[in-house]
Symmetry: C2
């Protein structure tokens, strides 16, 4: 269809990217064809170098350029507060709020019997070891508010119940700017159950 | 922000693609990070090989894998009918209709004084030479219906006026499935001016 095997191949490769269909992939391929060779080679080299150069923090599993990431070595971060997230994507989402000054722990997934993901496939042992070495630690469970997320929180908190650690979860409720009549029943009922004193809200 | 220079670089490279912002670029980069190394290397190699391997048809300028493209050498194609298009993208659009059985000529742009594109920067000489070698040729001008497109058609048809060639343009009018009250005045007025006998329409 594209007259050239090389364009065909590139369209095929681009359409493996998430949310990219053949039309968008062809648009990307055309852009590459019309760009200077150096621009395309630069993208090519960056892609090739990714897996060769990336390393994962031995403490929190975050992808970074060293043996241990800059958040885990930072002196301005509270090393006693660990925010447990499912993936790196969630870490970036929390970092971009600029409101969190503790450290992280990336589980690498959540417990999901349907998808065949058991606790042994996640970085839970490392988390337990980390926490056991701390005094007065707080573990913030920042997992997606789903059945799987709740199961994972329950599992981990059970393992930690004998250690002297404070376990919290990020608050759930109606999103800021959201509308009550469009909020699902479960969220709304939980949001009423976990209501907070007004003065606590405004003091934050 | 991304803890890793390599992820940062990849996001930067991906965001050069058309219509890709930082958020989508990060999504692509994450996908690459979570994919197997071979998948990413495959994309990398395809990109690298593009400019090295691609060739342009010496007759019609279409990007392909040989000295001359498969449309230009095809015996099932009418070599006396040349469809003039602005770019390869338009060739693909016409090919995907499966209704055209002539050959193509890619100009590589259209005359646009605002963007500084003059006739000498386009593949017009090659087209004139091609046409002069044919007997009873037809040249179909399939350029975008804009001022620049019309200027280019006017310029090329002027150069050909002494040769024995039939020059046509693709018909313009109301798009199939379109609504009259949403059609702009210029299109609608042209569409009335170039009205066709009804029996000619149904015989097609």
């Amino acid at each position: 269809m594209y007259l050239s095997k090389y364009i065909e191949d590139l369209v095929h490769e681009f359409s493996k990217l998430p949310g990219v269909g053949r039309k968008t992939a062809f648009r990307y391929a055309l852009h590459c064809l019309n760009s200077k060779k150096e621009v395309v080679v630069s993208l090519s080299n960056t892609l090739k170098g990714l897996h060769e150069n990336i390393r994962f923090c031995r403490q929190c599993n975050a992808p970074n350029d060293n043996d241990i990431c800059e958040i885990c070595v930072s002196r301005t971060r509270n090393q006693n507060v660990i925010c447990v997230v499912e993936s790196y994507k969630d870490l970036i989402a929390i970092e971009s709020t600029n409101q969190y000054f503790g450290v992280y722990h990336i589980l690498g997934g959540i417990i999901s019997p349907i998808e065949g993901i058991g606790p042994d496939m996640l970085s839970i042992d490392l988390l337990i070891t980390r926490v056991s070495e701390l005094i007065n630690a707080e573990v913030i469970m920042a997992l997606n508010p789903t059945i799987e997320g709740d199961t994972t929180i329950y599992y981990i908190s059970n393992l930690m119940k004998n250690s002297n650690v404070k376990i919290t979860t990020i608050s759930r409720g109606v999103a800021f700017g959201g509308e009550l009549d469009y909020t699902d029943e479960l969220t709304l009922s939980r949001s009423i159950q976990s209501r907070q004193p007004y003065d606590q809200l405004i003091n934050k």
